[in-house]
């Protein structure tokens, strides 16, 4: 019954997401400087870097919130730069936010919001409770429940979001993004502020999503342990520039990366703080040492 809309997009395999020489400037500050990378279809691509490296700016360019001064972003053949955020969403590119942004209401309401781009009911048909609007709502609610189950939120489906724990609210964000049936999922610090148990659960959820849905994931994260375990490829930014790129193992050994995280002349000793707010178990410094 819900297969109609979901199948159409799910059947399409994700296409490569290409970031090509993107530069973003804010009043004299260059937040991104000539950054390029390509997210291979179906892969998990991590973008890491110290605070202020331009990771969030990068995400904002991908989702259309910032327009780059130069450079392009392409999804397959479709150019994303210059498109309004809601058009990019309609192409199947969903994102979550670093600080949780949910809407008042139940978990179900939030997930149904995620299906906005996939549904049609307008003001008139909703106001008059026209049959097709009612049917559409029912079908998509069923799919939203499936997605809630996928991320482990089924018990809370009818609960107000405000009553949930921090970890569960993070999950709501991810489920809402998944409700778009995305082909590219942008996760902005999915485990920030979580305790160890919550982190482990979040990693499990990301693994499940990846195994069950045909999508590419772009991940911004401070937690190096998580990045090393999940990512197929890693791009490292520092002060808006790409300083390294490769598999997690390659990046971990890259001297430029060590310097960016630990400062110049660091030998991998001492109290390494790879970035504020990072109580992650494994830092690149420690692992490389």
């Amino acid at each position: 019954m819900n297969t109609g809309t979901t199948a159409t997009r799910a059947a399409e395999a994700p296409e490569p997401l290409e970031v090509d020489r993107v530069t973003v400037r804010f009043a004299g500050l260059t937040a991104l400087d000539d950054v390029s990378f390509t997210v291979a279809p179906g892969s998990v691509h991590a973008v890491i870097g110290p605070n202020g490296a331009g990771k969030s700016t990068c995400f904002n360019v991908l989702s259309g919130l910032h327009r780059p001064a130069s450079g392009t972003v392409r999804y397959g053949r479709q150019r994303l730069t210059g498109l309004a955020p809601h058009r990019i969403a309609a192409l199947g590119i969903a994102r979550t936010f670093q600080n949780i942004v949910t809407t008042e209401g139940t978990v179900g309401d939030n997930l149904m919001l995620g299906r906005h781009a996939l549904t049609r009911a307008g003001f008139v048909s909703s106001a008059l409770h026209l049959p097709h609007a009612v049917r559409e709502q029912r079908a998509h609610l069923a799919r939203a429940r499936e997605i809630a189950e996928l991320v482990g939120l089924e018990r809370h489906f009818d609960a107000p979001v405000a009553m949930l724990s921090y970890g569960d609210r993070k999950r709501v964000e991810m489920a809402r993004a998944l409700c778009l049936e995305p082909r590219v999922l942008l996760l902005d610090e999915p485990v920030a502020g979580m305790n160890t148990a919550e982190r482990a659960e979040a990693v499990e959820v990301i693994r499940t999503v990846r195994a069950q849905l045909p999508l590419s994931i772009v991940l911004v994260e401070h937690d190096m342990g998580l990045v090393m375990r999940l990512a197929d490829e890693v791009t490292v930014l520092d002060f808006g520039r790409r300083i390294a790129h490769g598999t997690p193992d390659e990046v971990r050994r890259d001297p430029e990366v060590l310097r960016a995280y630990l400062g110049t002349g660091a030998g991998g000793t001492g109290p390494a703080t790879p970035g504020p707010g990072t109580p992650g178990p494994a830092t690149p410094g420690k692992e490389a040492a």
Binding site: S63, G64, L65, A84, P85, H86, I88, A89, A90, A94, R95, F97, V101, T102, T103, E104, G105, D109, M112, L113, G114, H116, A117, T119, R120, A121, G122, F123, S126, A127, L128, H129, A133, Q137, R176, L180
Partner: protein, 387 residues
């Protein structure tokens, strides 16, 4: 058992107040019916404003303007200087006209948000007032115009021409309009619920809570903001038509800034973003001053109208009381009557759960609360003051 049992209380909560409302014209004098009519008109307008300000988070001070467009639109479309169309057609056109007026403002309404829109819409009230005074041919200028009565299928919703008696009760203008008002209010309720619980309502709430998140979820920001404004204007237009019909005369001074502020008071008192709350708030703001004015002379320390200066007249006394009531509500229930009803209901429910043996009659003190879920709240003030 589960389905029928689950729906039964909800069904009763919807049907019982409706039956009570339908029966009221057989028991109430026309004074009370008129208060009810004003309240119904206000409720329709308040639902529209609640959709815009409560759900979409867009402040509008221009609601009085759209009420005026609806009222004057109806008068002109159905009246003598004007095409003199059948009243029902005139009503539909008046609502569409209000929507079109909202649409004309939508380049502003789609781009300007929150508080700033409130200031921008202030201009509408003044422009509207100026137009009402100067466009004599359409609006009748300062003295306004009298309103053609509504006519449906040959039945004129006015007293005089025919003597309609139903079950021994003479049906004058108020009795007939009462049912018409009920139908309009029910229609408004039905459509607004559909909007709020459907895709547009979710998108508007998302816009209110975070524009960025909403746009990333696929909600076109400007288009939804303007749509909310247009829909809210159309409800205001419908309310304007009912206001015109129940006052039987429209004058420019009614549609001033104070009216806009009254509507904001309604949705804040009722509870932002809820249909039932908007209706309850509308009854509170519209009916309470009138009811208090009626009984103010029976209060202690209140002088008869026309007493020498310095004594407290009934009008002033009712205003003080009304003001105090607003303060009390906002202190005790900052989320409005809607939030108050919800809390009472959940408290009642948890108490019932704790004492399962006696669910039908429940604990004594909670008894009077039972008929006061949001849906029935509007009928309460009317019932209480039956003479």
């Amino acid at each position: 058992m589960s389905d029928a049992a689950k729906h039964l209380p909800r069904l009763t909560a919807a049907v019982v107040p409706l039956l009570v409302l339908c029966a009221l014209p057989f028991y109430l004098e026309s004074y009370w019916l008129r208060i009810g009519l004003f309240s119904m008109a206000a409720a329709i307008g308040a639902i529209g404003l609640s959709l815009l300000s409560g759900t979409a988070g867009q402040l509008s001070m221009g609601h009085a303007f759209f009420l005026a467009v609806g009222a004057y639109g109806y008068v002109w479309f159905s009246g003598d200087p004007g095409p003199g169309l059948p009243p029902v057609v005139a009503m539909v056109l008046a609502v569409l006209l209000a929507g079109a007026a909202g649409g004309l403002f939508s380049p502003v309404a789609g781009r300007v948000k929150g508080m700033y829109l409130g200031i921008a819409t202030l201009a509408l009230v003044f422009i509207g007032h100026h137009l009402m005074l100067t466009l004599d041919g359409v609006t009748g200028g300062f003295n306004g115009r009298s309103v053609e009565p509504m006519e449906i299928g040959g039945l004129v919703l006015d007293s005089g021409r025919d003597d309609l008696v139903v079950l021994g009760v003479p049906f004058g203008a108020e009795e007939r309009l009462w049912y018409f008002g009920l139908v309009l209010l029910a229609f408004t309720w039905f459509t607004a619920r559909g909007l709020l619980r459907g895709r547009p309502g979710r998108a508007l709430a998302a816009l209110r809570d975070s524009e960025t998140a909403a746009s990333v979820m696929g909600v076109p920001v400007a288009r939804h903001r303007s749509s909310a404004f247009v829909v809210s204007s159309m409800y205001a237009g419908l309310a304007g038509v009912l206001i015109a019909l129940s006052f039987r005369r429209v004058v420019p001074d009614h549609f001033g800034l104070v009216l806009s502020i009254d509507y904001l008071a309604m949705i804040v008192i009722g509870g932002l973003g809820s249909v039932g709350g908007a209706v309850a708030g509308a009854f509170f703001v519209t009916a309470l001053p009138l009811v208090m004015a009626k009984y103010a002379d029976q209060l202690p320390l209140v002088a008869a109208p026309g007493s020498p200066d310095g004594s407290l007249g009934p009008t002033e006394a009712s205003r003080y009381l009304y003001g105090a009531a607003i303060v009390v509500i906002l202190l005790w229930a900052p989320d409005g009557l809607h939030g108050l009803a919800r809390r009472l209901r959940s408290r009642l429910r948890s108490r019932l759960r704790r004492e399962p043996p006696a669910p039908p009659h429940g604990p004594g003190p909670a008894e009077p609360v039972t008929p006061a879920p949001t849906t029935t709240a509007p009928s309460v003030p009317v019932k209480e003051h039956t003479p």
